[in-house]
C-alpha cells in the first residue's frame, strides 16, 4: 500500500522511535506507516467515529475527538512531533489549534492547501465565483474548509505564534511531489504546503502536570 505523497513527505520528516500525535489521522494510514517503518509510538485523534473504529481495529491508538476542543486536554511537550495534515483549514479556531499544537509537540508539522495558488486566483478573477479546484473541490455553501489561507498567511500566523519554521515543503501542481520551497514564489505556484516548526525557547512551558479542568 503506497502512502499519499504529502503524507510520505511528512513521514520523511519524522525521526525513528519518536512519540507522534497525528491530529485528524483519518484511516490511520500515516500512523501505521510510521509504526511499521520508523517504530514510532503513535497516537491519533480523529473526528469521524467510523475512521476511529477502523484505526483501533488495525491496532492503532486513536480516539474520537476534535482538534478545536480536545487538544486542550493534552499536557505540554508530551510528544516529539504533532502532525496536523490537511485539517487546519477546517478548524473553527486555527490560531488556537496551532497554539495547542506548538505547546503539545516539541515539533509541529502542519500541511494545508494553498489558497494563493494561481489556479485559485485566476478562478476567482475570471469566473467571478468562489474558486473550485481539484485540490479544493467544494461548493462555497457545503465546504468543510471554513478557514482557508495562503502560504504567506500561514507563515504570518506561525510567526505570530512564536514558531520557528525549520522547513517548508511546497507541494507541486500535481500535488504529487514535494519540492523545496525557494524564492520562486511557492505562494503562487504551490497547491499546498508542509511546515515543520518548533517553539523551543519560545513560551515558558510548565512541567508536564495536570491543568485546571483536566479531570
Amino acid at each position: 500500500m503506497s502512502l499519499r505523497p504529502d503524507l510520505a513527505a511528512i513521514a520523511e520528516m519524522i525521526e525513528a522511535d519518536s512519540r507522534v500525535l497525528d491530529v485528524g489521522c483519518g484511516d490511520g494510514a500515516l500512523l501505521e506507516h510510521l509504526k511499521r517503518t520508523r517504530n514510532v509510538d503513535g497516537r491519533g485523534i480523529e473526528l469521524s467515529q467510523q475512521n476511529v473504529n477502523h484505526c483501533v481495529a488495525r491496532g492503532l491508538s486513536v480516539l474520537q475527538g476534535d482538534a478545536d476542543t480536545d487538544l486542550a486536554d493534552y499536557p505540554s511537550q508530551a510528544f516529539d512531533v504533532v502532525i496536523l495534515s490537511q485539517t487546519i483549514q477546517a478548524t473553527r479556531a486555527p490560531a488556537k489549534v496551532l497554539e495547542d499544537l506548538l505547546r503539545i509537540g516539541r515539533r509541529t508539522i502542519v500541511s494545508f492547501p494553498n489558497f494563493g495558488h494561481w489556479r485559485v486566483r485566476l478562478s476567482l478573477l475570471f469566473n467571478g465565483r468562489m474558486p473550485r479546484t481539484h485540490a479544493l473541490d467544494y461548493a462555497w455553501y457545503d465546504t468543510p474548509n471554513i478557514h482557508l489561507c495562503t502560504i504567506r498567511d500561514f507563515t504570518q500566523m506561525a510567526t505570530q505564534a512564536g514558531a520557528t519554521i525549520e522547513k517548508t515543503l511546497a507541494l507541486d501542481a500535481n500535488g504529487t511531489k514535494p519540492v523545496q520551497a525557494d524564492a520562486f514564489g511557492p505562494n503562487l505556484m504551490a497547491e499546498g504546503a508542509i511546515f515543520l516548526m518548533n517553539r523551543r525557547g519560545g513560551a515558558a512551558w510548565g512541567p508536564i502536570a495536570h491543568r485546571a479542568g483536566s479531570s
Binding site: 509510538d41 497516537r43 467515529q49 476511529v52 473504529n53 484505526c55 483501533v56 481495529a57 488495525r58 491496532g59 492503532l60 491508538s61 486513536v62 480516539l63 474520537q64 475527538g65 480536545d70 486536554d73 493534552y74 499536557p75 508530551a78 510528544f79 508536564i208 495536570h210 491543568r211 483536566s214 479531570s215
Partner: protein
C-alpha cells in the same frame, strides 16, 4: 497461605456437567476500605485457556453487577451459556487458544466468593448485614491476591463492562505496574446521581419486602423485592428504542386490554420473567452490597478530585468503548476517562459504537465492538511477543 477447593454455591447445581470452577481461600486477611478486615475469605473463579511459559498471556475479565465468574462456560446453576460467550472462547476476540483468561466472582458476590450469605466465622451463621460494606477497590485488592496466588505478575489485559469497567480503572490506578493493557467498556470513573438513584430504588424494594427481615432471611429470599429491584434495573440496561422495537404496545396472550392489573402488555410479562429468573440465581443481600460498592465508586476522590492523577503512573495501553444508546454509562462519562488519560499523555484509544441496544450492548453481538476488541488485543499480543 491459600487453599484451593471446589466452590460452594447457595443453590443446588442443576448442570452437573458444567465446570464449577475453583475457589481459593486465603487465611491472609483482606484489608477493606471501610477499615475492617475480612478473614478468612474465598474467591471463586474460572479460568479458560493455558498460561504460557512466560506467564505473559493472562487476561483478567471483571464482571458486572449481577455477573459472575462464568464468562465463557455454561452456568452450573442456570445451565445458560457464559455471559460473555460472544467475546470469550477459542477463536473469539478474547481468544482462549491464545490467552489465559481468568474471571473471578467479586467479593460480596453470591457465586462462591465470600459475601453476605457466607458463614461468619464469629457467629457460625450467615453474615447478613454484619458483612462489611465492600468497595470496588476491595474487589480489586482481592483479585490481586488471587493473581499473586496464580503466580502471575503482570496481566496482559484487564477488561470488563459496566461495574467490570470500574474494576479495570481501579486496577490501572492501584496496580499500574501490573496492568499492561486496560479495556474498560461502557463504564464510568464515578457513579452518577442518576445511577445511585436507580440503585436506591432497587435496594428500597428489597428492604421493603417483609421477607427481607433486616437481612437475616436465611434461605428464604425476599424474592418479591429482589425481583422488583431487577425489573427496575433491567429497564436501565435497555434503550427506549430497543424496548419500543421489541415490544411496542403489543399485548401478552390476549386480544384486548383486560381493564385490570395483570400483565396485559408484553413488556410487563418480559420484565416479570426477568425478575423471576433473577431471584433463582442471585442473593438479595449481595444485591444490596454490590450496588453500594458501585455507588461509592469515585476514582478521582482518592486523588484529590483529579481523575488524571489516578492514572499518573500507568503505563498501560487503554481502549475505551461506549455505546451511543447507553444512557446508564453514556459516552460522555467514558470520554471523561479518555480526557483524564490524555492529560497524563497515556496511550489511549476511544471507540463509540453505534447501537440501539442500550447499556446491555456490551454483552451482545455488536460486530464493531468485537472487531475493536480483536484489533486491540492483537496489537497487545504482538507488542508483547505472544504467538
Amino acid at each position: 497461605m491459600a487453599q484451593t477447593a471446589n466452590p460452594t454455591f447457595l443453590r443446588p447445581v442443576c448442570e452437573p456437567e458444567a465446570d464449577p470452577g475453583k475457589a481459593i481461600t486465603f487465611s491472609t486477611p483482606l484489608a477493606l476500605d471501610c477499615g475492617r478486615t475480612l478473614s478468612p475469605f474465598t474467591i471463586a473463579y474460572m479460568t479458560y485457556g493455558t498460561l504460557n511459559a512466560a506467564r505473559s498471556n493472562a487476561i483478567l475479565i471483571c464482571h458486572a453487577l449481577t455477573g459472575d465468574q462464568f464468562a465463557a462456560s455454561r452456568h452450573p446453576l442456570t445451565g445458560k451459556p457464559g455471559w460473555w460467550d460472544i467475546m470469550v472462547g477459542p477463536g473469539k476476540p478474547i481468544d482462549t487458544d491464545r490467552f489465559f483468561v481468568i474471571c473471578t466472582n467479586v467479593i460480596g458476590g453470591c457465586m462462591g466468593s465470600t459475601g453476605p450469605a457466607s458463614i461468619n466465622p464469629a457467629t457460625g451463621k450467615s453474615y447478613g448485614l454484619d458483612f462489611p460494606v465492600v468497595t470496588i477497590g476491595d474487589m480489586v485488592r482481592a483479585q490481586a491476591m488471587l493473581i499473586d496466588a496464580l503466580g502471575i505478575e503482570k496481566l496482559l489485559c484487564v477488561t470488563g463492562g459496566s461495574m467490570g469497567g470500574m474494576q479495570v480503572l481501579q486496577w490501572a490506578a492501584s496496580y499500574p505496574e501490573r496492568v499492561v493493557n486496560a479495556m474498560p467498556i461502557a463504564t464510568a470513573a464515578r457513579h452518577s446521581a442518576q445511577n445511585i438513584a436507580f440503585h436506591e430504588v432497587g435496594r428500597q424494594a428489597i428492604m421493603a419486602d417483609p421477607d427481607w427481615k433486616n437481612g437475616d432471611y436465611g434461605t428464604a429470599q425476599p424474592g418479591k423485592g429482589l425481583a422488583v429491584a431487577r425489573m427496575a434495573a433491567h429497564i436501565t440496561y435497555l434503550s427506549e428504542a430497543a424496548l419500543q422495537r421489541k415490544f411496542g404496545r403489543e399485548l401478552q396472550d390476549r386480544d384486548q386490554i383486560s381493564f385490570g392489573f395483570g400483565a396485559d402488555f408484553q413488556v410487563e410479562s418480559y420484565l416479570h420473567h426477568q425478575g423471576m429468573t433473577f431471584v433463582d440465581r442471585f442473593d438479595a443481600n449481595s444485591y444490596l452490597y454490590i450496588t453500594r460498592a458501585m455507588d461509592y465508586f469515585d476514582l478521582a476522590s482518592d486523588y484529590n478530585g483529579v481523575l488524571a492523577d489516578a492514572f499518573r503512573n500507568t503505563k498501560a495501553r487503554f481502549c475505551l468503548i461506549s455505546f451511543t444508546s447507553d444512557w446508564l454509562f453514556p459516552t460522555p462519562e467514558n470520554k471523561r476517562i479518555a480526557h483524564a488519560l490524555n492529560a497524563t499523555a497515556a496511550n489511549v484509544s476511544f471507540v463509540e459504537i453505534e447501537s440501539d441496544k442500550g447499556h446491555d450492548a456490551f454483552l451482545l453481538d455488536e460486530p464493531e465492538m468485537l472487531q475493536t476488541v480483536r484489533g486491540f488485543l492483537n496489537a497487545a499480543a504482538n507488542a508483547n511477543g505472544i504467538a
